[in-house]
């Protein structure tokens, strides 16, 4: 056991190292974009962006900035060699057709069965906005979630049942958190690695039946 919990960047590095060589990967908006900073270019991972591109590169700077070349977060990016462009129906067919190997998404909550809630807090005055999250959640072969294990109020974001509106049912395969990496399996949640706490402590704090 490591004695310290992980920073966002350290979580991103763990995910980047776990992505298989040559995989086609979609990184969700927000924190998951940090994963790109830690991908080893030699490993040939190809990034997909929902707005119609494979082979997305890093954020554009200076003269590279082109308003016609942006990522899902609407940030200007650059092309990598071998990049391709396609329209939106093709882009989402890549997701829904099961062609993407991995997507990395943020979450408000993940249930022990892998249900994902990440688009809506259910607040009455919130304006609902789902974007591509539901298509990604059910489409990629592996859905990794990147999140802090606990909410600001200390409650666990890994829960027996999501209380927020769902994005997808039983779609999450792994959860990367500041306290460790958790696999969602048919037999429950298996703790792959822990940081800054023991499994027993995490069981206590999450009130979940985690197994090693």
């Amino acid at each position: 056991m490591s004695t310290k919990t992980l920073t966002k960047d350290e979580i991103a590095k763990l995910i980047a190292d776990d992505i298989p060589e040559g995989a086609f990967v979609n990184l969700g908006i927000g924190q998951p974009t940090l994963v790109a900073d830690h991908l080893d270019l030699e490993r040939g991972v190809v990034l997909h962006t929902e707005n119609g591109m494979l082979g997305m590169g890093r954020a554009a700077v200076g003269d590279e900035i082109d308003p016609d070349l942006i990522n899902a977060g609407k940030i200007p990016v650059v092309e990598t060699p071998g990049a391709s462009y396609f329209h939106h129906a093709d882009s989402f067919a890549m997701m829904r057709g099961g062609h993407l190997d991995v997507c990395v998404l943020g979450a408000f909550q993940v249930s022990v069965r892998g249900d994902l809630a990440n688009w809506h807090t259910g607040a009455r005055d919130a304006i609902p906005a789902v974007g591509g999250a539901m298509d990604l959640a059910i489409g990629a072969k592996d859905v990794y979630v990147m999140m802090t294990l606990f909410a600001k109020d200390g409650s666990s974001k890994l829960v027996p049942e999501c209380t927020y509106p769902l994005t997808g049912v039983a779609c999450v395969s792994r959860v990367y958190t500041d306290y460790g990496v958790l696999d969602i399996t048919n037999n429950g949640v298996r703790v792959d690695r822990v940081y800054g706490a023991t499994i027993a402590e995490l069981r206590e704090r999450t009130n979940l039946d985690l197994y090693p």
Binding site: N51, M53, I70, G73, A89, V130, D135
Partner: protein, 235 residues
């Protein structure tokens, strides 16, 4: 037959027959691929009670946001209305002055693709077990759950491409392509804003993205000055 319009009032002429109550598909993902001049022309034209289909619900105070602000859009169908710069939409929505249908982005694209391809409806996997599938017919096919989704047809599509030839064959530019090719197929009348018009035969047929059969009117506009609005972290 495609009309290529390149006079100063080309955009205004192109949208002049859009009636009140029309459903208008408007291309773009954020501002990339948003046909700003056609939207401005539609705003000046003043057709009311419109239903607009776009991925977002306007950015800043220009383009689609400016159209919304006129109050002429009764309903918007989109995947991601809420953004750091969607204040025009946010105010209208909170005041109950615009109807919103939120559609997962892949369903938005596929429902228009279905419309363009003559598909009556389709079973899709997106949103099963979530609020967006509430009340929709569900079916298990080969052990997997799907929900029934209906096409979205437009009376008009306003899209932006990069180059058109005089027949209306289109080539797009980078991620500004986004919804353009799909919307072009899904509307009765497709109007395209481009910066470049070339003679028929100058486009390599192998490189044409939208074939001319889908295009009714091409409006040539001046190339925009490079500008960029950072939208922040949202899709």
């Amino acid at each position: 037959m495609t009309d290529v319009l390149d006079t100063n009032d080309a955009a205004d002429r192109a949208v002049a027959d859009i009636p009140d109550g029309a459903t208008v598909l408007i291309g773009g993902f954020g501002t990339a691929g948003q046909p700003m001049e056609l939207i401005d022309a539609l705003r000046h034209h003043g057709a009311s009670d419109l239903t607009v289909v776009n991925n977002n619900a306007g950015n800043g105070d220009t383009g689609l946001a400016a159209l919304l602000k006129t109050g002429n859009v009764a309903k918007i169908i989109c995947s991601f209305p809420r953004q750091s710069d969607s204040w025009v939409f946010d105010d209208l929505y909170r005041a109950g002055k615009i109807e919103l249908e939120v559609v997962p982005q892949g369903n938005l694209a596929e429902r228009m693709r279905a419309a363009g391809a003559g598909i009556g409806a389709f079973f899709g996997p997106t949103g099963v077990g979530t609020p967006v599938a509430a009340g929709k017919e569900e079916r298990i096919i080969d052990g997997r759950a799907y929900v029934l989704e209906y096409p979205i047809r437009g009376d008009y599509a306003l899209i932006k491409a990069h180059t058109a030839d005089r027949m209306g064959n289109l080539v797009y530019r980078k991620t500004a392509r986004n919804f353009g090719p799909v919307m072009a197929t899904a509307a009765t009348t497709t109007i395209v804003e481009v910066t470049d018009v070339v003679e028929t035969g100058e486009l390599d047929p192998e490189h044409v993205v939208t074939p001319s059969i889908y295009v009714n009117r091409v409006v040539k506009v001046a190339a925009a000055q490079p500008s960029h609005q950072q939208g922040g972290a949202e899709a």
